[in-house]
Symmetry: C2
Subunit: 485 residues, 2 copies
């Protein structure tokens, strides 16, 4: 604004808006003090070189907002209440508003979360956790969305059942029976914003501050961070070829009443939990009133003729909370997942979901329900179950060649990543740093450990086309070549 106080018609808003802002700013900054009489609107308009109506509009707005008061037969005055608005010397508390201002609980949560730091937005090999997105049938998805009748469309634009759209919960229940051998009713299914929210709700509802939780070591850091953020004590349980040994875990951590496992395909090692261990786990939960959280993050990606059913499908699995996600089977941007709950817990979880964020987006739920029920999920998964093993084979071959035969990953009949373990006392962080220097994201196994001495690297392959995998292998292969490390 010109120093002489005149008003110019610029792009920064209408003239009357400018007059208003100029006056308001003068009042807020104390240039026009409480009790000051404003000039009559006619003179004011002449001084600014604008129409009188322009000034009248601005004055009326200031009156409505309480900045000025009209005194009948007298004039317009700056209101008394605004005195406190003027800038005061030393009023710089703004700069102090930072994380020190958080509550104790908030600090714990923020510190934990900031230490977790989920990977940057960049999706480059060999980042894990991402599925193939280029093949996702977006056009089909859009068509399903458009083909919904207007009344139904409006129906999903309302506040909805916090537990999830009934049609989607039914589609999920039916899908789980067919694909994961898990028999449950739609009343046991809670639709969540991905598996992250599933874990978050479990932490809120089943844990108190200080409660002990057993986790696989190594294991997924996003879950650990969430549990820590809720004030839980996270207790590591080591893994052998049969997966997590609950007997060993319970002996060391007798106070723990919750355990999080990935029995179908352990993250990140890729182990499958043996039946004996599954049975022992269920037995433990029954004996001590514990909870088992089954994170079946990539259970749909089993490429052999026999797909192992979910742990939750075993008899007496009433204390298993089965967590599923569409982030891997479809895509992470969808933010849809679910929990299969013991029936008695479903009302409490639905209530907590309502407190947390009411419910998941209506239309996404409705389209996903149709996507599953009409067989598109199955078709998409069939394509991915053909594609991913090919990429895995290509990765193994490309890494072996680029490393001069030093890095030979063992093929696996499931999953979206492979893990290369390194023996002895070699660290894994330095090589990951060198990989990053050559533009490759290669997570060190140690990033997923608590006490475990296991070291190595995790290669995500599902999301990357052949050329990208070959290129990344060419870059990191030499780092593994004999004598290079």
């Amino acid at each position: 604004m010109p120093a002489d106080g005149t008003i110019q018609d610029t792009s920064r808003g209408s003239l009357r808006q400018q007059v208003y802002l100029q006056l308001r700013s003068a009042i807020e900054q104390g240039t026009l003090r409480a009790g000051t009489r404003l000039p009559p609107s006619r003179e004011h308009a002449q001084a600014l070189g604008v129409a009188r109506n322009t000034v009248l509009w601005a004055l009326e707005r200031l009156r409505v907002e309480g900045f000025v008061q009209a005194r009948v037969g007298d004039g317009t005055y700056v209101a008394d209440g605004v005195a406190a608005l003027a800038v005061r010397p030393g009023g710089g508390r703004a700069a102090l508003v930072g994380e020190a201002a958080l509550s104790a609980r908030g600090r714990l949560m923020a510190d934990t979360a900031l230490r977790w730091r989920p990977p940057a937005v960049m999706a480059a090999p060999f980042r894990i956790g991402a599925p193939e997105v280029a093949s996702f049938p977006f056009a089909l998805w859009d068509r399903l969305s458009r083909s919904v009748a207007p009344a139904a469309r409006q129906g999903t634009a309302q506040y909805l059942d916090p537990q999830g759209l009934p049609a989607l919960r039914e589609a999920i229940a039916h899908w789980l029976l067919v694909s994961r051998g898990l028999r449950c009713s739609a009343e046991q299914v809670l639709v969540t914003s991905g598996s992250q929210q599933a874990i978050d709700l479990i932490g809120r509802l089943l844990l108190d501050v200080g409660d002990e939780v057993m986790v696989e070591d190594p294991g997924y850091s996003g879950i650990r961070a969430c549990l820590l953020g809720h004030g839980a004590q996270v207790r590591p349980v080591p893994l052998d070829d049969e997966g997590l040994d609950i007997a060993a875990g319970a002996a060391r951590w007798p106070g723990a009443r919750l355990v999080v496992v990935t029995p179908t395909h352990q993250f990140p090692l890729g182990l499958r939990m043996s039946l004996a261990r599954r049975v022992a786990l269920i037995d433990w939960a029954r004996r001590c009133g514990g909870w088992i959280v089954e994170d079946d993050y990539d259970g749909e990606f089993q490429y052999g003729p026999h797909r192992i059913a979910a742990l939750a499908s075993l008899p007496h699995a009433e204390r298993v909370l089965y967590v599923g996600t569409f982030s891997k089977t479809l895509h992470p941007g969808l933010r849809l997942g679910f929990i299969v709950l013991p029936a008695g817990l479903a009302p409490a979880f639905a209530a907590a979901k309502a407190l947390a964020d009411r419910h998941c987006p209506g239309e996404l739920q409705a389209v996903l329900a149709r996507f599953i029920a009409e067989g598109h999920l199955l078709r998409h998964l069939r394509r991915m179950r053909e594609l991913y093993p090919q990429r895995q084979a290509l990765l193994i071959e490309a890494l072996a060649r680029a490393s001069g035969g030093a890095l030979r990953l063992a093929p696996r009949e499931q999953g979206m990543h492979l893990t290369a373990e390194v023996s002895g006392r070699r660290g894994d962080v330095a090589l990951s740093a060198r990989a990053r220097e050559v533009g490759v994201m290669l997570a060190p196994l140690s990033a997923y450990t608590l006490e475990s001495p296991r070291r190595g690297w995790v290669f995500g392959y599902a999301a990357y086309h052949d050329a990208a995998l070959r290129d990344a292998a060419r870059r990191v292969g030499p780092l593994f070549a004999r004598g290079s490390a």
Copy 2:
């Protein structure tokens, strides 16, 4: 399955699947005990009347899952580890899995939430909180979604910035400046799953168990429930014509460090907070290091020539957390809202959002960003700002007529509902129950009170077309007619 154990080709799955399930079920139930030798596959197939390959497939699957073991040159045996699977007498713990199993924190949250119980799915007059959805430009929304370039579409299908899509945060920041007079940067904006999640994250990060929070009385029960669920002590502050009186509140609750207000249009009374009270509120926060949560739930619906700017737009508002939502401006099914945070708090809130559910759905964010930036939000709001006052006027007239002049609501230049207060000691619950009997949802004011003696009813009108409003008025009007109560 027939009692003789034969297998029939039914719709319940393929033959081999049935053989597998039959054997698995027999093992799980202890009919086939650990160590039992299974009949040779050829005889087994003959007995069932199926091909031998069918039995071999089932046995191989059971072997992979660990239910049976093959002994070389001998045969197939039920595995040892399965003994614990058999049903045991008295093993009925399943029935006990209920809400008693929740943690103390979980019980508090569930109890609170279950007492809140957001309204049923049915959307009928005069339910509050819902906008007009029939006029929402779904086709335009779909077109924006489809017109995104494939690469960008794939980009929003990834794991994304927990704080929200940068394009959306920028669009929101610009929108707030123009529409709500609020100057903020995109770095201060956190995209949330509606205002409910905004409050939830504030509760997690700024409150510890037992902390006192001041709320308007009467006020919105969804926010109170969320705060109570986090263990906060919710402290009522009464309202007069100028809105919440922070001096009175602070005198009575000197320990409170957070206050939640609806200064633009108090919910549910419809008051506008005076400038003097706004200034006093900001002063209180600065003096004692308190936080002000400004819930601007329907701030866009001001129908007069002058729209009041947000409280957060005043000077020294650094301790104001401004909560906005698209549930009213667009529709609740979208589940998108936001907080404008003091810049120093943004990283902690983004981290907590990542722990809670990673981020909001990518595509919804991308489409909303374009919807705002290309002027569609403004156009939609202009239409709604013409429509809603018409509906309000119709409601007032229809209620006056149907009640024989007994119920005359005062018109308001803003909002999506009107409140009718009743004086004296009359209750409001009985009439609401009678309204429900005639098919009308009429929330009693007492449902929103803590200590306040105010009684009356809240009439939501924004979401209902003329005929629906007239019809509902005809039904409830007689309940208000003189002599009827």
